[in-house]
């Protein structure tokens, strides 16, 4: 991952400095300064110099001297923390960075560095809190947004990542993060749109182009992917990653004529590279060059024994060479690695038949047919679902409901379809139907955060407050960074007068998504209910920074101005501005 701590003095790779403490000798000028005026500033400057020279042990000593002279310097604690991290002492670095943050809560860099240190130690939750803290200081911090988005994506919280990145400043890393979140949640067209727009603005952005090509492939737009990668390669002929992507694309499309020269060149340059061996083997297998294909694929399988396609191609190559026992072994491994692949069952059946194992061959053919049938059924369900989505977009909820039901008939175990049906039923104002569909969704997939959140709304509207609270809590248990659920639970609790609890969840909402305007408004209203008027005003201002025309925020600001003028106001900001859960 490329991260954007570019302003940091040191490279955070734990590279040990070459100088030892006993031999620390800085620049003449800086050494003279600490001798003449041994101030924290002077020691800090010397420490910075050692840091630039990657003499981290010396830097640590210098910064410790600075802190000894000025223990309340947040900056020195920050630099000491960086030095400790760079010398491989991540635990110690955290302590210093935390001190820096405690001394200066508005220090963005310290929070960013703290997040990275936590991340390095695998403390994901702490890291996210650190970055959320950074975003509270600067909602546009691309570094914080990038780290946080990647963390959400890694946790599978794609919706939360999309929420976070939906209106961020243009930035290559953030664009790719957003596209990744879209594609991981199956929204390939949105991923493509995002990347296309970015590429239009920055035609030479290599990583954007590669990402867009990947999305095109996922969307079966092979021609678009090929055209794009060819153009990229023309512009960057020496870019190895692009060339590899191009080779993979050619192999995917069975374009052996164009692929083979590239693969051969790659293999000559990197004879032990997995991709070079694997892709060469696949091409050679396709070209009926079975002996050399077997050699290359065997080498690839030694590097990665659990790669389905290596095993599959090795199996078919052996089969073509009539080495049926070896073929069987490889194809059996392939079907174990991925039982959903019809082709592997088919070829294994042929090999088993050649070996005279007719019964086993028939069993594999049966599995082959089942895989094919599953593919057909999936296509049927997806078509109906796509049609339903179109109907809903066109405002025809009734037709959408009917189509979703047909999709569900084809794919009865698909929780997402059931959830989509629920949303269509909501549009048709069928509360009972919506509830039933959501309950079924959760039976199919118990930790479906969006369904829990939606069921929370349904039960809240029905006045079942306890049930609603439980559903919102369930949503957050499944997806801790689910800002919408945080906001809904906070609002529900606020409506019950449980302001302190509400505040915590609303703070969590704006922390998870600093651009969540409505959550800021709700937080402001809750804080006002707790008579925390300065904090409430700050929250309102946060909402207005996101959208200066936010009517609720403007109204609340007025009321708070009145409340600040007189302590007890007839109109309660919380009742006026707190939205119902949404």
């Amino acid at each position: 991952m490329v991260h954007k701590l570019t302003i940091l003095v040191f490279v955070l790779l734990g590279i040990e400095g070459t100088a030892r403490a006993a031999e620390c000798k800085g620049s003449e000028e800086l050494e003279a300064q600490v001798q003449a005026h041994p101030s924290a500033r002077a020691w800090g400057a010397l420490g910075g110099w050692f840091g630039e020279q990657h003499q981290f042990s010396c830097a640590i000593t210098a910064f410790q001297r600075a802190i000894g002279l000025d223990p309340t310097s947040a900056r020195m604690h920050y630099f000491l923390g960086l030095s400790l991290y760079s010398s491989g002492q991540a635990d110690a670095s955290i302590a210093e960075l935390r001190r820096s943050v405690a001394l200066d809560s508005n220090d963005l860099q310290a929070r960013l560095a703290l997040g990275v240190a936590y991340h390095q130690l695998g403390r994901a939750a702490d890291a996210e809190k650190a970055w959320e803290g950074a975003l509270a200081i600067d909602p546009n911090s691309t570094t914080a947004l990038d780290w946080l988005a990647k963390a959400r994506i890694a946790e599978g919280q794609f919706g939360a990542a999309i929420e976070l990145l939906s209106s961020v400043p243009p930035d290559e890393d953030l664009t790719i993060d957003l596209a990744l979140a879209y594609s991981q949640s199956g929204k390939f067209d949105k991923a493509a749109d995002t990347l296309s727009a970015a590429l239009a603005n920055s035609p030479n952005a290599l990583r954007i182009g590669s990402a867009l090509a990947t999305v095109y492939v996922q969307s079966h737009r092979y021609q678009d992917a090929t055209n794009l990668i060819r153009a990229t390669l023309n512009a960057h002929p020496n870019d190895a990653a692009t060339e590899l992507l191009y080779l993979r694309l050619l192999v995917l499309q069975d374009d052996d004529a164009d692929a083979q020269p590239i693969a051969q060149k790659m293999l000559a340059a990197h004879p032990q590279d997995f991709d070079a061996l694997y892709l060469s083997g696949v091409i050679e297998n396709d070209e009926q060059q079975y002996a050399v294909a077997i050699d290359h694929l065997q080498a690839a399988s030694r590097l990665n024994p659990n790669h389905y396609d290596v095993r599959f191609n090795l199996g078919t190559a052996y089969a073509h060479q009539k080495q049926n026992d070896a073929a069987r072994e490889q194809l059996e491994k392939a079907v174990t690695l991925d039982p959903s692949k019809a082709e592997a069952h088919f070829h294994l059946a042929q090999v088993l038949r050649a070996l005279g194992q007719t019964t086993d061959a028939q069993a594999q053919l049966k599995l082959f047919e089942q895989c094919q049938q599953a593919t057909t059924t999936l296509a049927l369900g997806q078509t109906k679902a796509g049609q339903a989505a179109q109907a809903l977009d066109a405002g025809n909820a009734t037709q959408a409901i009917s189509l979703y039901r047909e999709a569900i008939e084809a794919l009865p175990q698909d929780a997402v379809l059931e959830y989509d049906l629920a949303l269509a039923l909501e549009r048709a104002s069928d509360a009972a139907g919506e509830r039933a569909a959501l309950e079924k969704t959760l039976r199919l997939r118990p930790r479906f955060a969006e369904a829990e959140n939606q069921l929370g709304l349904v039960t809240a509207r029905a006045g079942e407050v306890s049930a609603a609270e439980q559903h919102f809590r369930n949503a957050l248990a499944a997806a801790p960074s689910y800002a919408e659920a945080d906001n809904n639970l906070g609002t529900l609790l606020g409506q019950q007068g449980r302001d302190r609890e509400a505040e915590a969840f609303l703070r969590s909402a704006v922390s998870a998504n600093p651009r969540f305007g409505q959550a800021w408004v709700n937080l402001a209203a809750t804080l006002a209910s707790e008579s925390m008027f300065p904090e409430a005003c700050a929250a309102v201002e946060s909402a207005l920074r996101i959208d200066p025309r936010n009517a609720d925020a403007l109204r609340l600001r007025e009321m708070l101005a009145g409340a600040a003028g007189g302590e007890h106001s007839a109109s309660s900001p919380s009742s006026a501005s707190a939205q119902n859960p949404r």
């Binding site: 079966h220 499309q253 069975d254 052996d256 047919e369 049938q373 049927l380 997806q382 078509t383 179109q390």
Partner: protein
């Protein structure tokens, strides 16, 4: 998508894709060798499109030309060479369509009578066959054994059985024959066949998809099955519900009984059916049914001899490609390309897919020889009507097929997917391989059309096989074959007496010069089309041939040392009867 873990990618084999450059270059040795071998053979036939001068000038309306929102506007239609008036000269029948919202003037099917002088006359109006609708396929057979060939047409909507009245007119007898069905169906392939060997032609009908215009999905780039390469196109067939198929038993009195359930046919609901051919795959004397299927496994219904069928395409090697992939099966051609006495199969497929050549082993199963034969190098176009027939009369059946895209929208975005494209011709190199020779066979191979069905027959009775092509929204093509002089031939016309009168299902083996070539009389072939019933065999330099006939009744007859260059008309149990002599064209 994970950018860093490249190993997440796996090879997709759903479609056999490949650029033309790759297709040509990926087997450079094979293609070059094939061309070299071809150039050592005598000159091939020359084909000329004579449609205009023969009077086939009426465009066949079928759906829109720019964008096609629904699948029903794209799949039709077939065509037929058949002799409706029994004058010994094959006539022409072409299926037509319409537009969604209107029936433009000139829409509908067309019947052309052969004037015997190289021209045709449009007799549609008198015939009663012109009914405009979404006609798809035609199969020909004398279902009532009255001596006149009847027609069964499949439609999106309701299929129709037209009884030949023998006077140039046809009557729609669908209702009285018991062939009406409830609701709309998307009928495609059909074949008359005598599945219970009682001497009466029964009827099998394949269906494509379950489709209701009122609720059908529309093109959308947001739905995988409604887009192609990022372009919104008509939805399907993937993603549309799969139908069952139908079998009707001929009661012998002009009516049929639906035996789809009793026969086991309707238990199979796995495939989007297109062309249907009846072929005795295991040569046991009982007709089987092969159905080309689109994007799903093709079907082979094996006759159990007791009124039921079992589906065995997968275990017999015809369901999917040699790699286990479901292909877009369109047309089926049957013929004996390697002269081993067993009927092989050639199936047309989709663009970026190889068409499939399946060699019959003689044991009732097939080996996919697409790659070894050299056929697999051509993958550019969506392919439709086809044949395995000896086009140059050198004694070795060649392969021909027509092409045309299903998505006219694509060519605006991707020039490699043109809406209209040329026919393809592979010459048999006599060693199990073929060479693509295209333009060497005349200007007809440079013409681009959006073709669908094609039929094969000798319209000018000059002893070679001509080609009729249905082109969507254009006049048809009629490719007159001028075969090279010096190559001999023999045609065999059969008439059943104990067997069905059309002799559908009769398997004929012709021996000449140490070779044996097998063919079968069929009701439907190619893509939703029907070839003329006279079986044509090129003999090369051989002056005589012997003919062995396996009649559907089980009778086997042998006719030794028949002279070449004649039509031999054989009545079951009677023998060779006098037929109309062919005039020898001056070469």
């Amino acid at each position: 998508m994970t950018y860093s873990d490249r190993r997440q990618w796996s090879r997709r084999r759903l479609l056999q894709t490949g650029a033309m450059a790759a297709a040509q270059a990926s087997a450079p040795n094979l293609v070059r060798a094939a061309h070299t071998a071809s150039s050592l053979l005598p000159p091939f036939s020359q084909f000329t499109d004579v449609a205009a001068q023969t009077g086939l000038t009426q465009p066949i309306m079928y759906g829109p030309t720019g964008e096609v929102p629904y699948i029903i506007e794209s799949m039709g239609g077939g065509c037929a060479f058949f002799d409706y008036d029994n004058d010994g000269w094959v006539d022409i029948f072409i299926l037509g369509g319409r537009l969604l919202d209107s029936i433009p003037s000139g829409s509908g099917n067309r019947l052309y009578r052969n004037n015997r002088d190289g021209t045709f006359t449009d007799v549609t109006a008198k015939s009663g066959l012109g009914d405009p609708g979404w006609a798809n396929g035609v199969c020909v057979g004398d279902y009532n054994n009255d001596g006149f060939e009847d027609l069964f047409l499949t439609y999106y909507g309701h299929n129709r059985l037209y009884r030949n009245n023998g006077d140039g007119t046809f009557t729609d007898v669908t209702a009285q024959a018991g062939l009406l069905h409830s609701g709309n169906r998307f009928g495609t392939g059909c074949t008359f066949l005598d599945y219970n060997c009682d001497g009466h032609l029964d009827l099998f009908v394949a269906n494509y998809v379950e489709f209701d215009l009122a609720t059908a999905p529309r093109p959308s780039i947001h739905v995988a099955t409604c887009s192609y390469q990022g372009v919104a196109v008509y939805c399907g067939p993937r993603g549309l519900s799969i139908p069952t198929h139908a079998l009707y038993r001929n009661n012998g009195d002009g009516t049929f009984t639906d035996v789809s359930e009793a026969s086991g046919i309707d238990k199979v609901k796995t495939s989007y059916g297109l062309t249907a051919v009846s072929l005795d795959v295991d040569e046991d004397g009982w007709p089987d049914i092969l159905v080309a299927a689109d994007s799903t496994p093709s079907l082979l219904f094996m006759n159990n001899h007791d009124g039921t069928f079992r589906e065995e395409a997968l275990i017999r090697g015809l369901a999917v490609s040699s790699n286990g992939q479901e292909m877009a099966g369109m047309g089926i051609a049957s013929g004996d390309y390697d002269l081993d006495g067993h009927i092989d199969i050639f199936k047309t497929h989709y663009q970026l897919q190889s068409n499939g050549l399946y060699h019959a082993t003689g044991r009732g199963d097939f080996d996919d020889v697409t790659v070894e034969s050299g056929i697999g190098v051509e993958r550019r176009f969506v392919s439709w009507g086809n044949c395995i027939l000896d086009l140059d009369n050198d004694g070795w059946p060649d392969i021909f097929y027509v092409t045309g895209n299903v998505y006219p929208e694509l060519e605006r975005v991707f020039s490699r997917f043109p809406a209209r494209s040329q026919p393809i011709l592979f010459r048999n190199l006599r060693n199990g391989t073929f060479a693509e020779i295209g333009s060497e066979a005349g200007p007809a191979f440079a013409a681009h059309h959006c073709s669908r069905g094609c039929a094969f027959g000798d319209f000018d009775n000059d002893g070679d096989v001509d080609i009729l092509v249905m082109n969507q929204n254009e006049p048809p093509s009629l490719l007159r074959n001028d075969a090279p002089p010096g190559n001999n031939w023999i045609k065999v016309r059969l008439e059943g007496t104990k067997s069905n009168r059309s002799a559908i299902g009769a398997r004929v083996l012709v021996r000449y010069g140490g070779h044996v070539q097998a063919q079968q009389v069929m009701s439907q072939s190619s893509y939703l089309s029907a070839n003329e019933p006279r079986l044509h065999f090129g003999l090369g330099s051989e002056g005589t041939a012997s003919v062995e006939i396996h009649w559907p009744s089980g009778t086997v007859e042998n006719y030794k040392t028949l002279q070449a260059n004649q039509l031999v008309t054989i009545h079951e149990g009677i023998g060779v009867v006098k037929g109309r002599p062919f005039s020898q064209r001056s070469k």
